[in-house]
Symmetry: C2
Subunit: 185 residues, 2 copies
DNA sequence: CCCTCTCCATACGGTTGCGTATGGAACGTA
DNA sequence: TACGTTCCATACGCAACCGTATGGAGAGGG
């Protein structure tokens, strides 16, 4: 099995894995080399230095982090409510979410990462906004609802509170239904 | 000025500062020593090792991270709505919020930190829950609203989307008012 | 068979950081 | 003055990394 040849993508995949488990500072080239069963020599042939690895990593995340999810949701069709529920399921089961959270923390101190996260967030918020508009065409609080939903999506993984015997998943779905409900006025 | 004596609390304060700016992995004893204008010798007199510094750091955060805010909010009195709006203002202006966010990311890979974050979240959620109960005594979606509000508080700092000419602060206050509104049913 | 291109191993110098060991300065106290 | 306590400086060994330099194995082409 020990194919001693490692492609550029394999290095990036290993970097994403390390990012998800230990944050940016855990992405070390000599560690990745051990994981991949090779030495640094391989790395410095594929990349010029550690910075370019990290750079291409976030670049790839931006490229595939938005359209994949949206396409996956739209594939099944349905009305706005159905698609929003599906959006939730898709993003929750995502295996790469841990990496994304580490990446968001990383974005707080790296301008390039921050810029890419912003573009992804803009795209996703645009999609969520469109769903809410489809539900309530004449509502004036679309933006607030979209921000609440997206915050729930992200904050869910940074908040560790317990909810009694109700359970987190149940509370979350209740929250989504609340956001999709008609205007209170 | 160069008081060459550094107390234990000064070391912790410097550690919090480093945590806020660069995450846990930026909390290095030799770096802190340079910042404080002393050498490692001072550190290893006050602490046994780096681990105990980090441990006492999160311990102090748990101790002061909850009651301070709640006391500050309750001090002015007012009804539940007024206190919730005040809760928002207080937490937003908090200078130590960057450290808390770094700490939450850290909690994803350190069980001790995770346990402390959970206790803090439970306490805060309890307070938010109580506010919502005071507003809507017979509502059955209290937990969902509390979770949404708390998610907004946290997610706000991890989300970098733009909101057109409306502006983030305005969207946030609209979201809070939406959560405080009566039940849609 | 040789040559070249691709990919990786090995070895090196330099930096950063941890924890320890030991000495010393400042200061109060007997 | 002699002495002990408190707090920090200095120096050391060790480990983990980074980036570079250089050589070498393997495959394909001529």
């Amino acid at each position: 099995m020990a194919t001693k040849k490692r492609t550029k993508d394999e290095w990036i995949a290993a970097a994403v894995e390390a990012l998800a488990e230990g944050g940016v500072d855990a992405v070390r080239v000599e560690r990745l080399a051990r994981t991949l069963g090779v030495t640094k020599g391989s790395f410095y042939w594929h990349f010029t230095d550690r910075g370019t690895l990290l750079s291409t990593l976030v670049q790839g995340w931006e490229a595939g982090g938005t359209q994949d999810v949206i396409a996956q949701v739209d594939a099944l069709g349905g009305d706005a409510r159905a698609r929003m529920r599906r959006l939730w399921e898709v993003t929750q089961g995502d295996r790469g979410l841990a990496a994304e959270l580490a990446l968001r923390d990383w974005a707080r101190r790296d301008p390039e990462v921050a810029a890419r996260v912003q573009r992804v967030d803009d795209a996703r918020m645009g999609y969520v906004r469109a769903l809410f508009v489809e539900m309530h065409p004449d509502a004036d609080d679309i933006e607030a609802r979209a921000m609440l939903l997206y915050s729930l999506l992200i904050g869910n993984y940074f908040i560790r509170a317990r909810h009694g015997r109700r359970g987190r998943p149940r509370v979350l779905s209740e929250a989504i239904e609340l956001l999709m409900a008609a205007q209170p006025s």
